[in-house]
């Protein structure tokens, strides 16, 4: 505390502004660096965002797709689509997604879920998979 007061006494107003602005800039940078990717997901219907879901607590929620209700489950920091049995429901095959940038979808329902944030690491294993 004494040291801090000493430092303040040794500085003038301009110094204090320099310290304050620099400290704020460093703090903002640290926040940006520490921001954890993949901690929330956005749900889209017909490519329009309709819901944002925090992925840090477990929940089951429901959205209305083109063909009726679609259930969405969040558990242990992962998210998945539930209860729509169709070969065109990419969510069924994808299962849980967790990583930032991950997507899962029910094509006939028009529902798409994307985990927000930039993917970690240099790249995904593949830029795309042809099927």
């Amino acid at each position: 505390m004494k040291l801090w007061r000493l430092a303040l006494r040794a500085t003038n107003t301009t110094d204090r502004w320099v310290i304050l602005i620099s400290a704020l800039a460093i703090a903002a940078l640290m926040v940006a660096m520490m921001r954890m990717p993949g901690n929330r997901a956005t749900v889209y219907r017909d490519n329009q965002p309709i819901l944002t879901v925090a992925m840090d607590r477990d929940l089951t929620t429901e959205v209305t797709g083109r063909l009726g209700p679609v259930r969405i489950q969040v558990e242990g920091g992962r998210i998945r689509l539930l209860e729509y049995d169709s070969p065109r429901m990419i969510g069924t095959r994808t299962g849980w997604i967790r990583d930032a940038g991950g997507t899962t979808a029910c094509v006939p329902c028009g529902i798409l879920i994307r985990v927000e944030g930039e993917p970690e690491g240099t790249t995904r294993e593949f830029d795309a998979v042809a099927h």
């Binding site: 040794a10 500085t11 003038n12 301009t14 110094d15 320099v18 310290i19 620099s22 400290a23 800039a25 460093i26 940078l29 640290m30 940006a32 660096m33 889209y44 017909d46 490519n47 063909l67 049995d85 169709s86 070969p87 065109r88 990419i90 095959r93 940038g101 997507t103 979808a105 094509v107 006939p108 028009g110 798409l112 994307r114 930039e118 993917p119 690491g121 240099t122 790249t123 294993e125 593949f126 830029d127 795309a128 998979v129 042809a130 099927h131």
Partner: protein, 343 residues
């Protein structure tokens, strides 16, 4: 004192910023949308984010526009309007739709009828595009009825008038336009055109079975996996693609159902009215443009290995990788990709 504090803090700021920048690897900017009955992903490389987002949005808008015009499943589309029209009467057709129809008809002639853009009524019978999807094949007598109806007109169900008139006539009640084997390729090419117009030089479009490469990824090729037809989590081949390459894959494993131990899939053989069974479970074609790749992968799947490869010789610059029912594969010498699944 003031100068020293400022210097120290500035250095600290620069150090933190430098470390952060180094920790952030370069990566493609990826945007995903639901379009044309599938997930469409556009990746761009090396563009400022705002410019990339604008270009990608325009590309998606263009694909949506094409879908709205050429989808058989949208009652308000131009194609659906033509399908509803009276048989035997000329109907107006836009230059854009006529272009795709003409390419489809030409592809059909080269494939000796194995590729057919007039299978709308047969597709309706099978219902692969419906929800819920089918679990049983249509009754045999209905398929036989469709085949008989087609045969009465020697399969010449679609006619186009002269180039300047832009009209189309469907003669046969058994014929309905279904551009599923070629229109997605066209939409992807239109998206590429929009990206180019906005200054994008390096991009990858992945629209389900249709993929289009533009340029590279910072000088390195785009790294693409080819899905193993019998293992949803596995890849059968790895393709490192750069420049101007379209890749289209047709297989029996995305839209299918099993009934009485038989796999019924969405690629229909116009000659039998059934799912195509020519000994192949996946066909991937590399071509200079997506429309050609799209049409060829379907045609080769229906034709089978021998006849398919014979047809491929009519298309310079096109290469193929075929996966047979027993899991073995064949790839033409110019096909870019290495098999990783094992023998």
């Amino acid at each position: 004192m003031r100068g020293r504090i400022g210097l120290v803090l500035t250095l600290a700021l620069l150090l933190v910023a430098g470390w952060w920048w180094q920790e952030r690897p370069l990566r493609p900017s990826v945007t995903t949308r639901l379009l044309m009955g599938t997930l469409v992903e556009i990746s761009t490389w090396g563009m400022p984010e705002a410019l990339s987002m604008r270009a990608v949005a325009l590309a998606f808008d263009e694909m949506t526009r094409v879908e709205e015009r050429m989808s058989r499943m949208r009652p308000e589309s131009e194609l659906a309007r033509i399908n509803r029209g009276q048989r035997g009467q000329w109907q107006p057709i836009s230059a854009e739709l006529a272009l795709v129809v003409d390419r489809g008809l030409a592809m059909g002639r080269l494939a000796s009828g194995a590729f057919d853009i007039g299978l709308g009524s047969l597709s309706d019978l099978w219902g692969f595009s419906l929800e819920p999807p089918p679990t049983r094949p249509p009754p045999a007598d209905r398929i036989a009825g469709w085949l008989a109806q087609r045969a009465r007109q020697n399969d010449a169900g679609i006619e186009r008038s002269g180039e300047s008139e832009k009209k189309i006539r469907l003669d046969n009640a058994g014929v309905g336009l279904d551009l599923g084997g070629i229109a997605k390729g066209y939409a992807v090419e239109r998206a590429v055109e929009m990206l180019r117009r906005e200054g994008v030089q390096d991009a990858l479009i992945n629209a389900g079975g249709d993929m289009r490469i533009l340029g590279s990824k910072g000088g390195k090729p785009w790294h693409v996996g080819l899905r193993d037809p019998r293992d949803p989590q596995g890849v059968a081949a790895i393709l490192d693609l750069a420049g101007e390459v379209a890749l289209s894959t047709s297989g029996d494993y995305e839209r299918f159902f099993m009934a009485d131990g038989i796999r019924h899939h969405h690629i229909l053989d116009p000659k039998t009215g059934q799912s195509a069974r020519a000994g192949l479970i996946s066909v991937s074609v590399q071509a200079p443009d997506s429309m050609t790749a799209d049409g060829l992968s379907t045609a080769l799947f229906v034709l089978g290995e021998q006849a398919g490869l014979a047809m491929l010789r009519h298309f310079p610059g096109c290469e193929a990788l075929l996966i047979r029912e027993d899991g073995s594969h064949f790839q033409t010498t110019g096909f870019i990709g290495r098999w990783v699944k094992g023998p």
